[in-house]
């Protein structure tokens, strides 16, 4: 297990390292002069001051030196300051990150609570009308753009029915965005669970369990569910990353004050330090969650736990 996990952690570290490189290069890929864009609104800035900013950002140095400077600041927890308003990027992100995490986790919870039982039921009734019906529902769910689903939910539950508030970041405000994000992923979970469970149900060891005279409920619960759940667990890391990605859109629909909304604003404002910080934060979160899920998987699967 330690070998498995250390590999995953090394992989994660590599990913984050690659992100830092990418993020440093990002500002160079920008068409035009980023410093000009940053200070476009300042009438008082002299060319000397622009040069000063360029120097302080290291943009006059070679890229490796810039990277070293970036990393040095990063290791001190300094992600630079926003162009709009000149505030520490880290503060801006940390203030909003919890909101995004809460949203993604709630959506994950919804996806699991809805998706896995449906997938299990469909697998249990494989080939039946119930199975067909549920899977049609699932494929429809996957095909539904979540920004559209979000708008429809907003329209019906907030505007037409007025059941739920539409602004702010309270627990009731969480319901719609989490539902939007959760439902489409529930469909993915349902399909995944179904195929995984069906795979397992056709395995010899399930036949063995039946041959021992175990009742169906016990076979399903102890043998099928446990073994069939593992592939679903491995997918959770990836799904969480999807959730984080989906949150970008959903936050914008529901005015949820998370890093996704911040990122889109920053893109419009060409606020490069914020974009850099966002990309870095996003990949750190995704990597950490993926490692967490891998650890969970390692604990659940004896083949890895005992390796």
């Amino acid at each position: 297990m330690w070998r498995f996990l250390s590999t995953r952690i090394a992989m994660g570290a590599l990913t984050i390292l690659a992100t830092t490189v990418l993020v440093t290069l990002l500002i160079h890929a920008v068409p035009g002069d980023p410093v000009q864009i940053m200070y476009a609104q300042s009438q008082g800035t002299t060319p000397e001051q622009i040069e000063e900013v360029r120097r302080s950002l290291g943009l006059d140095r070679s890229i490796p030196v810039q990277y070293a400077m970036f990393m040095e600041r990063l290791l001190q927890g300094d992600l630079g300051t926003t162009i709009r308003g000149g505030q520490p990027v880290l503060d801006v992100i940390l203030q909003r990150l919890p909101n995004t995490l809460v949203l993604a986790c709630s959506a994950m919870f919804i996806a699991i609570v809805i998706g896995i039982p449906i997938g299990f039921l469909a697998a249990y009734r494989e080939g039946s009308l119930v199975d067909t019906g549920l899977m049609i529902l699932a494929i429809a769910g996957i095909s539904m753009p979540h920004f559209w689903l979000g708008l429809m939910l907003l329209f019906f539950f907030a505007l037409e029915l007025g059941w739920l508030p539409v602004s702010g970041n309270g627990p009731l405000n969480l319901i719609l965005p989490a539902l939007t994000l959760g439902l489409s992923n529930a469909a993915i979970f349902a399909r995944l669970t179904r195929s995984s469970m069906i795979d397992v149900m056709h395995q010899d060891f399930v036949q063995t369990a039946y041959a021992k005279g175990l009742p169906k409920s016990l076979v399903l619960r102890r043998h099928v569910l446990r073994a069939g759940f593992l592939p679903v667990v491995t997918m959770m890391g990836l799904q969480f990353a999807f959730m984080m990605g989906g949150a970008i859109v959903v936050e914008n629909i529901f005015s949820w004050n998370g890093v996704g909304r911040m990122a889109v604003e920053a893109i419009f404002q060409r606020d490069y330090p914020v974009i850099q910080g966002f990309i870095l934060t996003f990949s750190v979160v995704v990597v950490v969650v993926a490692i967490g899920i891998d650890a969970l998987y390692a604990v659940l699967d004896p083949r890895i736990r005992r390796a």
Binding site: L26, A140, F147, W148, F155, L238, I279, S283, V286
Partner: protein, 288 residues
Amino acid sequence: MTSLTDIPNGSAPPGFWRRMVRSSNGVVGLIIVLGLIFCAAFADLLAPYNPARMGTGGRFLPPGGKFLLGTDEFGRDMLSRILYGSRLTLLIGAVAVGISLTAGMLVGMVAAFRRGWVETLLMRSTDVLFSFTETLIALSFVAVLGPSLQNAVIAVGVAAVPFYARTCYSAALVETSKPYFEASIAAGAAPGRLVFLHLLPNVLPTMIVVATLGVSTAILAAAGLSFLGLGAQPPTSEWGYMLAGSRDYINRAPWLMTIPGLAIAITVLGFNLLGDGLRTSLDPVERR
């Protein structure tokens, strides 16, 4: 000695099309996709009005009558816009998947075929990029290049490359380890022959399935970017952009939101069903 059971299995396994037709999903998907292609190809003839012309009808006319799907905030005919939008949607899907498929297959096949450090380098970088997730790659791309439909499509295409590369790699790995491939090596086949006569034809079916399903992902992703204002720019009748613009009129003209959303959903559903059908037909073992 009498031949005991060494008889050809009387009937060949049901052919691809027969299986395709049997999978009702695939048929429905195919019909939707063909319908979409038809709409896109003949948008000029089908569309009753110029999609960009403002004031074709009154503003916010509800569906029905002269304007089957109503008109938008500028009095443009929604039906015409949706029809022309199908062109864009197909183009987006095709170009994005084209990018992902070409680059992904190149990386995947080279890695599986060359092995050694080339394989390690390619697949490890793919893994790193893969854990970035497609959304982040696409978003970063747009952040750098600036919002436009073209950039969004490139972004979506590039973002999916790691996925295609991985899929192609594992499919190619399976094929290269099969005896027929080794027999070909043993027969002295040169790399070109191995790749183009054996590897490519055998990997292609898998990749066609992946690409078909990928079209739906790409369309969704590009529409998502347009929805955020990071993709299509006016006056294109890109569905995601139309949907984004409709937000202001939820109360006044809900159909402006419903129609493009439905169009996206049905298109994506079509490609998903077709992909599912293709998968079932191409791979009789995995009938799930």
